[in-house]
Amino acid sequence: MRIAYQAQPPTLDPHVTTSQASATIGRNVFETLVTVDSNYRTQPLLAESWEQSEDGKTITFHLRKGVRFHNGKEMTADDVVASMNRWIQISSAGKDHFKGALFEAKDPQTAILHLQNPTSTALPIMAYGGGNYPAIMPKELIDGADPKGVKEYVGTGPFQFKEWQQDQEIHLSKFADYQARSEAADGLAGKREALVDDLRFIFTPDSSTQVAGLLSGEYDVAADVSYDSVQQLENDSDIQVNVAPTGMLNLFFNKKKGLFANVAARQAIGAGIDVESILIAAYTDPKYYQQNHNMMMYYQVGQWASENGKELYNQNNPDKAKQLLKEAGYQGQEIKIVTSRDYEDMYNGAVALQQQMEKLGMKTKLEVYDWPTFTELRNDENKFDILVITNTPKPEPSSLAFMRKDFPGWTDSPELDKLLIEFRSAPNLEKAMSVYGKLQSWFYEYVPVVKVGDGNSISASKKTVQGMKWLDGLVFWNVSNQE
């Protein structure tokens, strides 16, 4: 199966990079202890089962027997311990949420996670299948890794790594000795099976080249189709178009400096904008976005849902906004909106936002940069008032970018600090869920960002490709391609 894919990742080692491309390609090769089902609940993968202690400070993982790495070696607790401890030490997710935590092997089939503090979010974060996921690799490879990543890609997944031609393709092939789980497939959980012999991820940066390649039969799947080409593809009877959630369009306020250091000004934007017209501008058609007041994405509401703050989402109330702006002492100074054109949804959304802010009587200026420049400028509090960004989904709310003190926008709220401690240090997720509603209320009071809505990305494939799904990235196991 030939998949046209936009971006080449820096490495397939997910411990060192948060790149989504690395996850989408790499997780066919590497697996994790736990994973998520279609309702976004944690399910076992390489672990057979686990127990969480009463105080929430230890989690004991019982590993599956007879799981082999692609090099033939059987996976044991030593590999798990080496992999997970490295992930805790070097990955962004590990450093953030697992400070002072340590994995330890009790016997070859048992690994114990000792947490410094009870961490209710431990399991959902370890189950995440997107960028920076905690892959299990052989201990020898972990020991021989350098700062740029492991030297070889050996995992336990249904596909094994074959070849990487830089800037051309990554070639994976079916792993004959793969030990699948016996449960029915559900989301990323349950039975995984390689139904094609080869997966070739062909790097095709240009979206219209992907479309032409799919139409001419060069590719079986085009992973990143632009909204404008959908019609052309839908007219072709051999092609099917698939929609998948991609991220949430957020307006990040500079809370350190300028007008939006004042909470009333942030609430004014929340009150004044009409999300529908911004979303239409960004995603072109209601099929490609969802209005959703939840902090988390719409596909995650099976696990993360709260009605709190719903009335404050999409208010479309210019009078209230103008009143709030007056309260905030807005004097007509110029507001700098910054975004990147490397992502069309961000740019088009920003243009629509600018028009709406002008209608509220605000003076605005839109600045557009390429993505690497954008990621550097946004760290400077003198360079922007509002950033328009599509945030990638996160496994649980305390990982969301706007919860961080160090992320551009610089959320700084003592109330949030208290809530986060309460949320994270609950002994397990069930107990933490009671705090989730409070977090969402805080989100609509403090307004760290205004959430516009959830966006979808579009992929397309030949009709012969059956069973392709999306969960934290496109899923390529259990997918067949019969001519």
Binding site: A4, Q8, P10, T11, V16, T17, T18, S19, Q20, S22, S92, K95, D96, G131, N132, P147, K148, W164, Q165, Q166, D167, Q168, I202, F203, T204, P205, D206, S208, T209, A212, G213, L215, S216, G217, E218, Y369, D370, W371, P372, T373, F374, T375, E376, L377, N379, T392, A401, R404, D406, F407
Partner: protein, 316 residues
């Protein structure tokens, strides 16, 4: 001749030096850096800082330049920040597709341009001449990507005769290699041919009006011999210059065409590396491209001597 060669090669050194300083400054002053790109969209500023330190990107600019230059002088262009290979390997692997494409495109250009240019010169002022001139003017104005998109739509998507994107190395078989390059070669070559056609026509016109051609014709030399042996050879010097220039442009990266047809050549390497802020690769490629361009011009100069013995004599 040898002294001339040595002089020309020595003259390359200051050119490369200036280019290296300029490119180094431009890319290091541009915001964004490879550490942030490698760590991905969700990395924290702290992590980026740490990696920047590991990669030596936090050193003062002049120190970084000196370190890099020291390696370059030892023949080491360094390692890519983003890819798991050295810059030399990157250039080498991306050069093969570019060279194949450039040669093929040049052949397409010459096959179109030389006969048409000659025909136009011989039938000066007729409808043939005017049609050729009109088309070549149009071709010079059309950007090559427009022709590329048209070819993709017609030959690739509608007729499905040829693949529209990708690349297979020569080891995969000659036809496999060629079939991916035909459309991009036509879209590049057809556009390039416009300039060569015009140059061939005007250069031929000039020669055809000289006395020796008139004499030869009055002596009854066959028209074919007259045109191809006596006239074309003398008219060839300016044509060769244009060919050299267009070939230089093709080798140093047909950026847009490579992107549209997804050919992993030098042009695409530059684009990708700029997006990744892969300093080492950008610097290495720019140095390489500069050297290549100068060398192609040098080779063209040498070919003057082959085509026209008078040039050889003068240089001695």
């Amino acid at each position: 001749m040898r002294i001339y060669l040595i002089k020309r090669i020595l003259a390359l050194i200051p050119v490369l030096f200036v280019v290296s300083v300029v490119i180094f400054l431009i890319i290091h002053i541009t915001p964004g850096d490879p550490a942030a790109v490698m760590l991905g969209e969700s990395a924290t500023e702290q992590d980026v800082k740490a990696l920047r330190q590991q990669l030596g990107l936090d050193l003062p600019l002049h120190t970084q330049y000196v370190n890099w230059m020291a390696d370059v002088l030892r023949g080491d262009l360094g390692d890519s920040y983003f890819m798991k290979e050295s810059v030399a390997e990157s250039i080498f692997s991306h050069l093969q597709p570019t060279l194949s494409l450039a040669i093929l495109a040049q052949i397409v250009a010459l096959v179109i341009a030389i006969p048409i240019g000659i025909a136009a010169a011989l039938r000066r002022g007729t409808a043939t001449d005017q049609t050729v001139m009109g088309f070549s003017l149009l071709a010079m104005a059309v950007p090559s990507f427009l022709l590329a998109l048209f070819l993709i739509l017609l030959v690739g998507v509608k007729l499905q005769w040829l693949p529209v994107a990708g690349y297979k190395p020569l080891e995969a078989g000659l036809w496999n290699h060629l079939k991916y390059l035909i459309l991009p070669a036509i879209s590049l070559g057809a556009i390039q041919s416009a300039l060569i056609t015009r140059m061939t026509r005007s250069s031929m016109l000039e020669v055809l009006n000289t006395n020796y051609i008139k004499t030869a014709r009055s002596k009854g030399v066959k028209e074919r011999t007259l045109v191809y042996k006596h006239a074309l050879r003398n008219a060839f010097l300016p044509i060769l210059t244009v060919i050299g220039q267009t070939f230089g442009g093709l080798v140093t990266g047909a950026v847009v065409t490579e992107t549209i047809f997804n050919i992993p050549g030098i042009g695409q390497l530059i684009i990708n590396s700029v997006e990744r802020r892969d300093y080492a690769v950008i610097q290495g490629v720019v140095l390489f491209v500069t050297a290549a361009y100068v060398c192609i011009n040098l080779i063209v100069d040498m070919l003057y001597g082959v085509v026209d013995p008078r040039v050889r004599l003068e240089r001695k």
